[in-house]
Symmetry: none
Amino acid sequence: MKALSHPPEGELRERIDAAALHLFAERGAAATPMPMIAAAAGVAVGSLYRYYASKEELVSRLYAGNYAALAQHLDRVQQAQEGTRAKLAAMALFICRYFDDEWDLARFLLLEQHAGLRGYAGPANPIDIVERVIAVGIAAGDIRPIAPLVATAMVIGPIVQAATFRAYGRLRTPLGDIAEQIAATIWAAIAADQRGAQ
Amino acid sequence: MKALSHPPEGELRERIDAAALHLFAERGAAATPMPMIAAAAGVAVGSLYRYYASKEELVSRLYAGNYAALAQHLDRVQQAQEGTRAKLAAMALFICRYFDDEWDLARFLLLEQHAGLRGYAGPANPIDIVERVIAVGIAAGDIRPIAPLVATAMVIGPIVQAATFRAYGRLRTPLGDIAEQIAATIWAAIAADQRGAQ
Amino acid sequence: MKALSHPPEGELRERIDAAALHLFAERGAAATPMPMIAAAAGVAVGSLYRYYASKEELVSRLYAGNYAALAQHLDRVQQAQEGTRAKLAAMALFICRYFDDEWDLARFLLLEQHAGLRGYAGPANPIDIVERVIAVGIAAGDIRPIAPLVATAMVIGPIVQAATFRAYGRLRTPLGDIAEQIAATIWAAIAADQRGAQ
Amino acid sequence: MKALSHPPEGELRERIDAAALHLFAERGAAATPMPMIAAAAGVAVGSLYRYYASKEELVSRLYAGNYAALAQHLDRVQQAQEGTRAKLAAMALFICRYFDDEWDLARFLLLEQHAGLRGYAGPANPIDIVERVIAVGIAAGDIRPIAPLVATAMVIGPIVQAATFRAYGRLRTPLGDIAEQIAATIWAAIAADQRGAQ
DNA sequence: CATGAATGAGCGTTCATTCAT
DNA sequence: AATGAATGAACGCTCATTCAT
C-alpha cells in the first residue's frame, strides 16, 4: 500500500544509508528516531531492521564504513605525493576540502565522536594514516624527533579545531580557503629544518 | 529508609554535580538519564529537581558555569606572564594540567561541545582569551601575521586533540608530561622569529 | 504475547474511545491516567498516541465530536416537530433518553463541563439549538417574553439536574420514565398560555 | 527559619482552609498541588498534614463543610418565610446571591462534584432542604402532585444551569438580577394554582 | 520481502507524603 | 508544633523493536 514506484527506486539499503547519514549530521544520531529515517528514505520502519539489526548497528556501521573510506582516501592522497612535507600538505588540504564538500558526513565523523568512536576498531583509520606518515617523516629526518602522537595531534588538531569553529559559527571562511595557511603553519611546527617553514 | 541518621555524604548539590559531570563526560549528556544521575549521586530523582528545574538547566548550568570559570582561570594564568611566548606556554601547560586534574570536567567542557556550546553566550570564554593573547602577539610582532582564528586553532587544536587521544585510549601519558613539548611545537608553528622555536 | 491471532475485539480506536468515555464519565477526565485508559481498552499505552497526539486531544476530540453530534441530533428532533411545545417536549424526551441510552457519553458531555467546555467553539451546540427554538417560540408568542437564556436554563437545567440526581444515586428511575412529567412542568414554566400547562 | 511574625498570624487551620478554597475555585482541586496551598497560606507543607491526613481529606472536608453550611443557611432562609411560594422564592434568591457573592466557593461546590459529592453523606444537604420544602408544599396543596425529586430538579436545575452559563461566559448578568424572574418561572412550573404564576 | 500498527520499557517531570530537625 | 528537604511512585509521552499481514 506504500507506492508502486514512488521514488526513482534504487536499492533500499542505499536510500536508508543516505537518509540516515543526512539526518545524523543534521540532528545527531541520538536525536534521530528510526521512524524518521524510514520516512526520509521512503521505506517502512520494519525494512530498516532487515538491513540493520538495531539502531546502534546502523549508527556504528555507517560510522565505521565512512571512517574507513575516509582513511582510504587519505592514504591514496598521501601516496600520490613525494616527500613528507608534500604528503602532509596534501592531506591537510584534502581534509579541509572534505569538510567543505562533505559537511554533513564530516561533522558526523569528526564532531560526533562519542557515539561513533566508542568501540571502533576498524582496520584503517585516518589518524593512523597521518601518524604513519609522520613516523616515516621522523625516521627520514624531515620532522623533528618528537613523539609521533604529539606530532599527529599537531597536524590534525588545528584542522578539526578550525572545523569546530566553523560548525559553531566562529569561522565563516570555507576551510579550503585557509588550507594552505594551515598546512604551512603545521609544517613550521614540526619540520626539522626551520627554513622549510617559509 | 535511605540513611539512618543523615546522609553521611556531603551536600546534595555537590554530589549531584559531581555525579552528573562524571556521567556526562563518560557517556555524553544526551545519553545520561536523570535517574542514572540520581542513582550515581545516591539521591532520589525528585531531588535533582530541587536544584535544577530541568535536565536542560542541569546540563547548561554545569556547562556555562565551569566554562566561564575556566576562562577566568586561563585569563589569570595569562596575565601572570610577560611576553607572548610565556603567556601561550603557561596557558598550554594550564590546559594540559586541567585535563589531568579535572578529567571529567575538562572532557565535558571540551569534548562535548554539541550540547554545551549551542546557545552559550557567556561573557568570558576560553577561546576568546587565547585569541586575544594571539592578537596582541601579532600586533607586537611576536607572532607571524596569520589570521588570529587560525593561530587560535593552531594553539588549542593540538591540546584538545591530544586530550581526545587520551580519552579514547590512544595516548596514555598524562597531558602534563607532554605539555612543554606541545608548547614548544605550537610556538614553532606561529612564532615570527623562527629561531625562537628551538 | 497479547493475543494470539489478532485482537478478537473491534477496532482499536473504538475500544479506546469507549474505554476513555466510560472512565471519564466515572471519574472525570483529569483523574483518569492514560495508562488506565490503555488497560481498560486492552491496548498498550503507546497505541493511545497513534490515534491521539496527547491526552488533551483525546479529551477534547471526544468531547467536541460527540457534543456536535448531540447538537445535530437535537436539531433533527426539533425540526421533526411542529409548534414550540411539541419541539421542546421532543427535545426533552430525546435528552432524557440520551442519558438513559448513552449514560457514559451523556455524563461526560453534560456533567463534566470543566474540561470540555473550556474553549469549545464548535459550530453546532446543544444549548444553541434549544435557545433558538425558545427564541422562535417567544417571537411566535408561544412562550412568555422572558430572557431566552433564562428560558433555556429553565428547559435544560431540570433535565441535567435530574441526571445529576441519577448519577449520584438520588434518583433511580430511568429519565425516560419521567420525561413527560419534566416536559409538562417545563412547559408550564414558560408557556405564554397558562392553560397549555395542563 | 520561616518568619517570626510574617502574616498577621491567625489560626493556621483557617489560613490553610482559606488558601485552599481560593485555589480550588480558581484552578480546580486536582490541579492544585499541596505545596501551592502551603505557600498561599504562608505555612510549611508539613503543617498541612497536621490538620488533614491527606489531600483527599482536605478537599472533601472543605467540600462537605461548606456544603453543609450552605444547607444550614438555606434552611434558615426557608424558615424565615411563610408559605411555600415565599420559601421557594427566598431560597432561589439566596442561591442566586450566593453565586454572586461567594463566586469562588460556589464554583468549588458546583463544579467540583466529582471530588466532593462522591461519597458525601453529610447530615444536612442543600438538596434535601429544597426537597423537604417541596414535599411540604405538595402536602399543603400549594404544589402540583408531581414527584418531589422532579420538582426539586425543577427548582434547583434552572439556577445551577444559569450559574453554569455564567461560569462559561454565556451569561453576563449577575444572577441576583434575574433571581426574581427565575423564581417566578419556577413557581409557574410547579404551582398547583396556575394563576399564582403571574 | 516489505509493511506499519502495535508494543512496552524507559524517559523527563511532578507532587503527595514523610521525618529528622 | 512547625518545618521543608528529601523521597519515589506515578504521570504524560517517546521510540526502538516486533510480527501478522
